[in-house]
Amino acid sequence: MSDSKIHDVLILGSGPAGLTAAIYTARASLDPLVLEGEPSSTGDQPGGQLMLTTEVENFPGFPNGIMGPELMIGFREQALRFGADVRTEKATRVDFTSRPFRVWVGDPAAPDPTYLAHSIIVSTGATALMLDLPNEQRLLGHGVSTCATCDGFFFREHDIAVVGGGDSALEEATFLTKFARSVTIIVRRDELRASKIMQDRALANPKINILWNTVVTDVIGDQTVEKLVTQNTQTGETSELIATGLFVAIGHRPNTSLFAGQLDLKDNGYLITHAPSTRTSIPGVFACGDVQDDTYRQAITAAGSGCAAAIDAERWLEANHESE
C-alpha cells in the first residue's frame, strides 16, 4: 500500500479549498497528491459540503447559479487536467513531528506510513452537526435526512420540519417547499442568523412557517418519523409537532480530530493559521478552507484560501530546497 516516493505536496480533503490548492500546485509542477476522502453523507467526503447542497447562487462566474455537486465535479476535473493525483482515500493518522511528514491511510496502527510528503495542505473541512438524539440516529434514512437535495423528492406532500436559523437551514427549507406540503422551520432563538436575502425569500414563502424559541427534544416514530417533541426555550413547555420528515441544519464542526495534539487548535476546534498566510503551528503544514475558518465559511473564501495555501507551500518548498 505504501509508496516510497516523497511527495512535494500532499493535500488532505477535496472541497473548494483542497481542489483549488491542487489546481495551483499542479500548475506549479509540484505533482500534488490529493487524498479526497471517502464517500459519506455528512459533509466529510470527496467534494466537501457542497456535495450535499442544492443550487449555489453566489459563486462568481455562474450568473444563473449552479448545483453544488456539479460545481465540485468541475473543480475536480480541473485539478485532474493539470495532473493532480486524486485518490479516494481518507487519512487515518498523521505524524507531523518530523520531516518528511507521514500520513497513514487504512490501519492507523500500521508501523509504516502510507505516504511521505515534504509539505502538507490541510483542507479537511467541516461536518454538519446533528441534534445528537438517540432516535434521530435510529431514524436516519427513515425520515431524518442529512441531505435535502438528495431526499427532498421523497417528501412530496408531506409536512416536514427543518431545524436551524442560518443560511443553510433557510436554503434547505425553501428548496424543500418544491416537494413538501408544509415546512416548519424550528429556530432556537427569536431571530434568524441567515442573510437578509434568504430570510426575505423564506418568510415570503406561503408553505413556510417558523416556530421561534423552540428546540427539538425527541423524534417519534416506529418505522419512519411521525412527529417531533419540541420544547419552548422561554417557557420550558413541551409540545408535539406532526412532521414526517426532519432536516437538520444547525451548523458544523471542523474535521480536526486527526490533528489534535500536533497542530494548534482554537478552543472551538478550528485550526489556527497565522494570517496573513495559511501557515499552521508547524512549518511546512498549511491549512485552508472551513477547517480553519470560523468566520466566513463560504465556497469562494475556501477556494481563495486554497489558492493562498498552494502559493505558501510552493514558496516554502523553494526556500527549504526540498522540492525535487
Binding site: 436516519l140 437535495t149 421523497f154
Partner: protein, 106 residues
C-alpha cells in the same frame, strides 16, 4: 456505464432479484444526488473485484418511484442487499469501500 453494473427498472426488477442465485445489491440513486455520484465508482470497483460472488445493480428512483416506495426508501443513496429474493441488509448513506463490503455482508 460499466458492464459490471446492471441498470434495473420497474419492468426488470422482480425478475432480476428473484432469479439471482448470488446476492444482489440494489443502489437506489438519482441524478441530483451528490453522494450517489461519489459512491458510483466505489460500487464499480466492488463489482469488478467481486466478480460472480455478487450482482451489483442500480435503480433510478426518479424513473422508478414505485420500487423505491415499495421498500420504504426515503433517503439516497440507499443500498438494499437481496439474498434469495428477500431484503437481507439495508445500507443508508454513502460510505467508503471497505465499510460497504462489510455492511453488504460480502
Amino acid at each position: 456505464m460499466s458492464e459490471n453494473i446492471t441498470n434495473l427498472t420497474e419492468a426488470t426488477f422482480d425478475e432480476v432479484i428473484n432469479a439471482s442465485a448470488e446476492p444482489v445489491v440494489v443502489d437506489f440513486w438519482a441524478e441530483w444526488c451528490g453522494p450517489c455520484k461519489m459512491i458510483a465508482p466505489v460500487l464499480e470497483e466492488i463489482a469488478a473485484e467481486q466478480g460472480d460472488a455478487v450482482k451489483i445493480t442500480k435503480l433510478n428512483v426518479d424513473e422508478n418511484p414505485a420500487i423505491a416506495q415499495r421498500y420504504g426508501v426515503m433517503s439516497i443513496p440507499t443500498m438494499l442487499v437481496f439474498r434469495n429474493g428477500e431484503v437481507d441488509r439495508k445500507v443508508v448513506g454513502a460510505k467508503g469501500k471497505a465499510q460497504l463490503i462489510e455492511e453488504f455482508g460480502l
